[in-house]
């Protein structure tokens, strides 16, 4: 990881020095070791705070919606999962591609600070990693014990970039990403309702899931619009809370790249990504396998009509 970080800093330094880019979007060191934050670096000197380590779980792509519209070219480091979001945003014309220099960086799963805490570590003094292990403060963990939920099932690969920094160290996923979806599908309707009722009863409607989501880039979200009549800051009953999440999942269906940020940021640890994965699994089944964000050109199954499209009767039976 150290050599990757060194190579990234070298790249950023070279591009800033040559003037090819005027800004760098990456991650900045925190106060407790694991609390790295996304940051924009505007000078070689400021790169002293630049970091890339096992804690850089945040997806940087969405920041480019704003940053790429500003003056000057920006260098961005994209992990495999971030690059799918990036492609999808390019496809949706949300990012000005000509203002972005992309460097793909490899990733072998990022640490979940909550899992680290469950293992008694609240302050990271030193960390290193191999493809399958992370060593924090001298204690070695298997990746599957300690990485973010979104990383456990990751099969994403390095796509096309302006440049790639990789040492060809790829981690194989520990879990099938549809395992939990299948479990939920196997439940009775009442059991499934009880599952989501418990989970979503914790929602505090902070909108972190929406605001972090690279598929949620409406300039003005309908739920923030006073004139929409549904600017719901409070719910009239507990069912409304569920509706918010269900509607959001519908809204991003076919565009969600399964980056997993919604579940990473939820302060109540609600597994929101499962709603999106259910849609992904249905789309795969009904339209053939499809991965949003794999390219920047193709039309998605839900935004493209073909005569071979699935009919409701194919799903529900009848005529």
């Amino acid at each position: 990881m150290q050599r990757l970080k060194t190579a990234m800093i070298e790249k950023a330094t070279a591009l800033l020095t040559s003037g090819e880019v005027s800004k760098v979007l990456g991650w900045k060191k925190g106060e407790l070791g694991f609390d790295v934050e996304p940051a924009v670096f505007t000078s070689v000197d400021s790169l002293v705070d630049f970091t890339y380590d096992a804690f850089c779980g945040a997806n940087l792509s969405k920041y480019l919606v704003e940053e790429s519209k500003k003056e000057g070219k920006i260098l961005v480091f994209l992990k495999p999962c971030d690059s799918y979001s990036f492609n999808q945003l390019i496809k949706e014309h949300r990012i000005k591609k000509e203002n972005v220099y992309t460097v793909g960086i490899e990733c072998q799963g990022k640490v979940d600070p909550y899992k680290l805490k469950e293992n008694g570590i609240e302050f990271v003094t030193d960390a290193s990693e191999t493809v399958d292990t992370v060593t924090v403060n001298g204690k070695e963990f298997k990746k599957e014990e300690i990485i973010l939920g979104k990383c456990l099932t990751c099969t994403k690969k390095l796509l096309s970039y302006d440049d790639v920094i990789s040492f060809n160290e790829k981690r194989e996923p520990s879990l099938d990403r549809f395992e939990m979806v299948k479990k939920l599908e196997a439940m009775t309707a009442d059991e499934r309702y009880a599952f989501w009722k418990d989970q979503l009863s914790n929602c505090i409607r902070c909108n972190a899931c929406r605001n972090v989501c690279p598929a949620c880039t409406c300039t003005k979200c309908v739920f923030d619009n006073d004139n929409s009549g549904i600017a719901s800051k409070a719910n009239s009953d507990s069912f409304e809370e569920k509706m918010f999440h269900i509607i959001r999942a519908f809204h991003v269906a076919g565009r969600c790249t399964d980056c997993g940020e919604c579940s990473r940021v939820c302060p109540q640890h609600i597994p929101l990504h499962l709603l999106n994965r259910k849609f992904i699994s249905d789309i795969d089944r009904l339209y053939g396998e499809y991965q949003a964000g794999e390219d920047t050109e193709s039309k998605g199954p839900l935004t493209n009509y073909t005569t071979g499209d699935v009919d409701p009767s194919d799903v529900f039976g009848g005529k």
């Binding site: 925190g30 106060e31 407790l32 609390d35 790295v36 934050e37 996304p38 940051a39 924009v40 945040a58 920041y63 805490k117 609240e122 302050f123 418990d198 989970q199 009863s201 914790n202 505090i204 409607r205 902070c206 909108n207 972190a208 929406r210 605001n211 972090v212 923030d224 006073d226 600017a231 800051k233 409070a234 719910n235 009239s236 990473r264 940021v265 302060p267 109540q268 640890h269 609600i270």
Partner: protein, 339 residues
Amino acid sequence: MKKIALSNIDLLYKEIAGAQELYLPVKVAGATNFKKFEDGVEVDIKSLQTVKSAKDLFFPQSEDMMEFKTSGKSIEVIDARKKAEPFVLFGVRGCDLKSFEVLDKVFLAEPVDTMYQAKREAVTVVTLACNNPETSCFCKVFGVDASNPKGDVQATIVSDEMHFEALTEKGEKLLSSLKCLEDCEGKGVEEEKAQIKEKIDALPFVNLDLTNFKGENLMELFNRPEWEELSKACLGCGTCTFVCPTCQCFDIRDFQTNAGVKRFRCWDSCMYSEFTKMAAENPRKNQMQRYRQRFMHKLCYFPSNNDGEYGCVGCGRCVKKCPQSLNIVKVIKKLGGNK
């Protein structure tokens, strides 16, 4: 003093809940929050911190105020405020108790907020000393002693027992009504407190320096260029404000139902773009301005208006919960430094 073995603590919850409503940390779907005690709930008393703070009990996320019913040309106004029945709030940590003082300064100042006041008066607070403070805790910076949190009753866990000391008349009344407790000398309590203090002194953020944050420096702080960098990664979500025990901003809205109009108030967040929307314009146009507002309020405006009392209690929830790891500690370090 009184005590009970932790192995029997369910008896205590049941006895309290038999006489009045009891709210305490309950785990649902993996997340611990203050919830009403009922048979079968999973009480999570040992976990240091609930996700949402205890302010919910006095200042709920959403609360009905009044209803309007129209018939012909007349409008009937119906008081929708719920009557506050006496209740016990159990397992409040020192930081959250301190937050009640901060909220009191807002809601109990003239004109008194009667919805808040009713619930504040109805509560008996049982605090709990923090046996294992976390690295994200910095309550000491704001004058909180987590080993000695006060309240109506103060509880301390000493090995496998919980000890109770009544500190107010209300607390006295609660403790003396509970048959499942046994009298004790409070053996080991002082030693436990001393150990907690030692642990707190070793935490990484206890030396944050607040001296720079005062009214006289308002403009200087407001204009600091670092706000841009500090707020860069802010998503504009409401996580920090909603998990914060002292954030007290709310919105009042009308909800049209078939049966008339309901007026409710609900938490609002200065992180949201519409928060300052007014008829003429929205004076806070970008996230940096909103971000700056939140911390200036807590560290500068609030103390200026409240005899130096800060609008932060150092609970560390924002440190743990911000999706992008922004928090008040980074702000204080950048603009105030360490002692």
